[in-house]
Symmetry: C2
Subunit: 358 residues, 2 copies
């Protein structure tokens, strides 16, 4: 009999969450889904891939400190996007069958008993004419890929010859955005947290340059990397890196803020204060917030995104990267690794071993 484990938000973390303390993998109580019948109008499914996202950290808070995302109630499962494999369906469902893979959103757990009211949270994977590996639909062809695609065309408005600087450039959004910007003829520079990531960007993903912000003086490194300055800064990290980027932006430069990963684990009084905002005036900068909620404006890019990026991934001119955490028992560590910036590309909990078990 398989277990049914669930990843619980057990207490509000101080700083980076601690596995086993703030986030706990526990055995789910009650009868195991695979030993029961599907609920009327529902189905039973097994998790294959689970998306880990920085926004999870913002949800690990109390309701009075809630931001844009609803807080996880303490003692309940984290929720996230996932790909599940259908095991048993109620006879009233004709739109999918056992063995189908569905994109969903639900608790982070091994098995799902999906009631009729939760069925709309699950949809078949998009058409996949090139037979791409399904996990890509949580990354490049999922919401982070859409943020990169729509973010580039809607906000960055790429111009051939301009220089774009991207922070967390090897992250889920950054590594795709950089490749898309490169296709548009921009000079693409990245800021990352290790020499290994610098190598990945410049050798594997065709970035024009990258710096490790943990080594040396970032201001100096960026001045050397971009002697003609930077026209666009796409920010995924906030904090001091953002302040330095404002310093090196060119006249009429543009900032697109998409994340503040360096600040998510800090209380407001410890968050980094940006001191050089007067440069917004003297350099006549524009600064736009890009929230990764898939609003109508973003979904308007979806069809074009799927068509183009599927083709580019298939022909090898777009390289989506994943950081897999293997095994449900490691799920808390996987979330924490992401929050520490250990991942390259999209962070995904990979449960295919369990699915492929006999």
């Amino acid at each position: 009999m398989p277990t049914n484990r669930v990843l619980i938000f057990s207490q509000v973390p101080q700083g980076v969450p601690i596995p086993g303390q703030d986030l706990k993998v526990v055995e789910k109580e009650g009868p195991h889904p695979t030993s029961t019948r599907p609920p009327p109008g529902g189905f039973i499914a097994q998790s294959v891939y689970v998306s880990f996202d920085p926004s999870m950290r913002m949800r690990m808070t109390t309701p009075d400190k809630a931001g844009v995302f609803p807080p996880y109630p303490i003692g309940t499962a984290l929720t996230s996007a996932c790909i599940v494999k259908v095991l048993v369906v109620d006879s009233s469902i004709s739109t999918f069958k056992p063995g189908d893979l569905l994109l969903g959103n639900g608790p982070v757990q091994e098995y799902h008993t999906v009631t009729a009211s939760a069925v709309p949270q699950f949809t078949p994977l998009p058409p996949n004419p090139f037979g791409l590996e399904p996990s890509v639909f949580l990354g490049a062809l999922g919401s982070t890929g859409l943020v990169a695609y729509a973010g580039l065309y809607h906000f960055v408005k790429p111009k051939r010859g301009e220089t774009i600087l991207i922070s967390a450039a090897s992250g889920a959004i950054g590594h795709l955005l950089g490749q898309l910007a490169k296709r548009e003829g921009m000079t693409v520079l990245g800021i990352v947290g290790s020499d290994e990531k610098v190598d990945i960007l410049t050798r594997k993903l065709n970035f024009d340059g990258a710096v490790n912000y943990k080594k040396g003086d970032l201001h100096k490194s960026l001045k050397e990397l971009a002697p003609n300055g930077v026209d666009v800064y796409f920010d995924n990290v906030g904090g001091q890196v953002l302040e330095v980027a404002i310093d090196i932006l060119n006249q009429n430069g543009r900032i697109i803020s998409c994340g503040a990963a360096s600040q998510y684990n800090l209380p407001i009084e410890k968050q980094y204060g940006i001191r050089n905002t007067f440069l917004i005036i003297s350099k006549t900068l524009t600064w736009t917030g890009l929230a990764s909620r898939p609003g109508a404006w973003m979904l308007a890019y979806e069809e074009e995104r799927q068509k183009n990026m599927q083709k580019w991934i298939h022909d090898g001119t777009m390289k989506p990267l994943n950081s897999f955490t293997y095994g449900f028992e490691n799920s808390a560590d996987g979330v924490v690794d992401l929050l520490k910036g250990s991942n390259v590309g999209k962070a995904i909990l990979n449960l295919t071993d369990a699915v492929n078990e006999p």
Copy 2:
């Protein structure tokens, strides 16, 4: 024999400049202009009004710390916009004559000997069909008025029913911008530094409300003043007030940064760090820098601005306010009063008494 005094930048101030130490009124050496002939192709004129602007503080620095404005060389006269009265012209000049008032830009001093090469710095006042008091051409009908007018239509893009919050709202730009926004059907709120200024805005200029940021908790006061939040924040001050404004902005709010008066007197390491820039993402804010350099985009509004604002000032529906400093001997104090925020409306050195002397 009249004196010819000049306002000298004598040393780089620490913080707010000190009259008599950092800024000195001194007797200009050499023969007095009124006792000499005009230079070939030039003229001799007397200052009537001199504009005092916050940007003067940014120019009181050393070249290595220069920002967008060129620093004043130590030991030389401050320069600024002015209105002068022509005394004597060289016979080669036919475009204006003694007694004419000219708009100019030059050293802050009582009398000007304008050489042929400096003549293009001076132009006749714009047509003035309603016979408005000339000082208005340094304020509402000068560059600050153009910033307010073009800033509103080009950047704020006013929408009837929206709420705009303006800091330094009784200042040279703020008090005009608020009146213009009100004409467009916006709810107009101001942040100022005294109860007297609150009164002026709400009783005299028809603002919907205003708060004194020096009294009580600004965050709380603004929440009470704008229970439905704020759609646009027009910032003239930067610093902590800016941080609070970001907090209370509505979803999809817009920030237009036009000045950072609270920070001009501080070295970078003492400048206030804005900690809540992650709200730019979650509220999908846009933030635009409006530098008060009269670029082409701004000058495109000039004709319309003169036509409309002259009419509105004449019919009393637009009230331009001035803070006059009287007498050249008080010019250093006038600059410092402006930098301390003592002014209401446009800060102008008023030398009409001297001009009107027999």
